[in-house]
């Protein structure tokens, strides 16, 4: 798979098989395309050359099944500040056609017990981030988690708990793909370093780019 943004090739020749039960950490310097890769994997971004397969078949043919078990946490938390944490999570569950009975437990798990009905704009940045993270506790099925910088604004104890949750999800048979600049202490993660897939020339002209792609990136 190759990815291009604003006529700049971010990475190419990337081929990887995400196995159930594995945690994969995407690494690379700022601007190397980590978020772009994650957004491509969630089907949010369609600007890529190559193929996305899920369970051996093209992803685009089984979008609904894939999305039903996908949990994506982006840079933006997707939390409405005018609503309380519980209202945010209830909407999240219902809008995906799931039951909202675990909202209380999920908020308890991220340390927001007692804040269920407080409007989110009154919470701190870390607490708002935790509202988004509470989604991780809404289901006990093995799922695909795609987490973009999940540890941002989270305190040390929170990071530890989050690492445990990620390991637990992997043990359940889920797949976790995440980006972070921190080292994962308690997780046995595989690594993809996007620097290994960067094209040789950083900013080729468009014509060169096409010539360049021909030998290396068309798999």
């Amino acid at each position: 798979m190759a990815c291009e943004r604003d006529e700049r090739v971010l990475f190419c020749g990337l081929s990887y098989r995400f196995e159930p039960g594995h945690v994969v950490q995407i690494e690379g310097p700022n601007g190397s395309g980590k978020t772009t890769l994650l957004r491509t994997l969630t089907t949010l971004s369609q600007d890529y050359a190559g193929e996305l397969l899920w369970r051996g078949r093209p992803l685009s043919k089984q979008r609904h099944d894939y999305l039903s078990q996908l949990l994506y946490l982006g840079h933006l938390p997707g939390v409405k500040k005018a609503l309380s944490p519980a209202e945010n999570l209830r909407w999240y569950a219902h809008s995906r056609g799931e039951s909202a009975r675990r909202v209380g437990t999920a908020l308890y798990n991220v340390g927001l017990a007692g804040f269920e009905e407080v409007p989110c704009f009154q919470l701190s940045a870390g607490q708002q981030r935790r509202v988004a993270l509470a989604r991780l506790y809404m289901s006990d099925q093995p799922e695909t988690w795609i987490l973009d910088e999940p540890f941002t604004a989270i305190d040390k104890a929170g990071v530890g708990a989050l690492e445990q949750t990620i390991s637990h999800q992997a043990a359940l048979g889920g797949t976790v793909i995440l980006t972070t600049h921190q080292d994962l202490h308690s997780i046995d993660a595989s690594h993809i370093n996007l620097r290994d897939y960067q094209p040789m020339e950083q900013q080729p002209e468009k014509q060169q780019l096409q010539d360049y792609q021909a030998p290396d990136c068309q798999q």
């Binding site: 949010l44 996908l70 994506y72 997707g78 500040k81 909407w91 999240y92 809008s95 995906r96 409007p119």
Partner: protein, 229 residues
């Protein structure tokens, strides 16, 4: 069966949440309505207090201002969702985006178009609208504002990723609003002249039916494009 109830669940959840959000931000919601009221109150002061003159202006005036008031409120339709990342969650939701967009548009209409329609008779009195015009005015605004919200959603979705999309939004949407304005104002005008307005109202109804089916699809497609960049 299970699938269809959960489909409706997605619509209902977004509908409920947006109504709640509208209630929490009710200060902002009054803006279009206040704009509507102020402009119409200014007309007799600025043009003429003569009831005969005003009666001629009334249908077009009320319709133009209702249209501009709707346009004012459109910018925020998807903006909040785009800024806080909720939009990304819509796009990767297993629920059809069509229903989520439709739920948002219905709420938008309930909090902008419907109040405009309900206030229109009061403004009709201010502008000395003849009695025969009131029912067609409300009926045409009922159908018309719903169309304006639906069609406006396409423009709002197209410009949501732009930092200053307001002007572009108006330029994209205005040509699409013109037919609604023409038929809406003409329905009221012909009723005040003692002629039937059923044909104009029927045309407005067909506009609404078409945009109800097509507009959420177009808006959903536009949202995917906007979020891609």
């Amino acid at each position: 069966m299970n699938q269809s109830t959960s489909l409706f669940g997605g619509f209902a959840a977004t509908f409920q949440r947006d109504l709640l959000l509208a209630y929490r931000n009710r200060g902002e919601l009054v803006n279009p309505l206040v704009f509507f009221l102020i402009v119409i109150t200014m007309v007799p002061l600025g043009i003429t207090p003569d009831p005969n003159e005003l009666a001629k202006l009334a249908p077009g005036m009320i319709w133009v201002v209702a249209l501009l008031a709707t346009l004012l409120s459109l910018d925020g339709l998807f903006k909040g969702d785009f800024d806080d990342g909720t939009l990304e969650q819509y796009l990767i939701s297993p629920q059809p985006l069509y229903l989520i967009v439709l739920a948002k548009v219905v709420v938008h209409w309930l909090v902008t178009g419907l109040p405009l329609m309900l206030f229109a008779p009061v403004l009709g009195v201010m502008l000395s609208l003849p009695a025969a015009g009131f029912v067609p005015l409300m009926l045409s605004l009922l159908l018309g504002t719903a169309t304006l919200s639906l069609v406006g959603a396409i423009g709002a979705a197209l410009t949501v990723g732009l930092r200053r999309g307001g002007l572009l939004l108006s330029l994209i949407i205005m040509p699409l609003y013109a037919p609604v304005l023409i038929f809406g104002a003409s329905a009221v005008a012909s009723a005040t002249e003692g002629m039937p307005s059923t044909s104009q109202v029927a045309v407005l109804g067909s506009f609404m039916a078409i945009s109800m089916i097509g507009a959420p699809f177009a808006a959903a497609g536009a949202l995917r494009v906007s979020a891609n960049g």
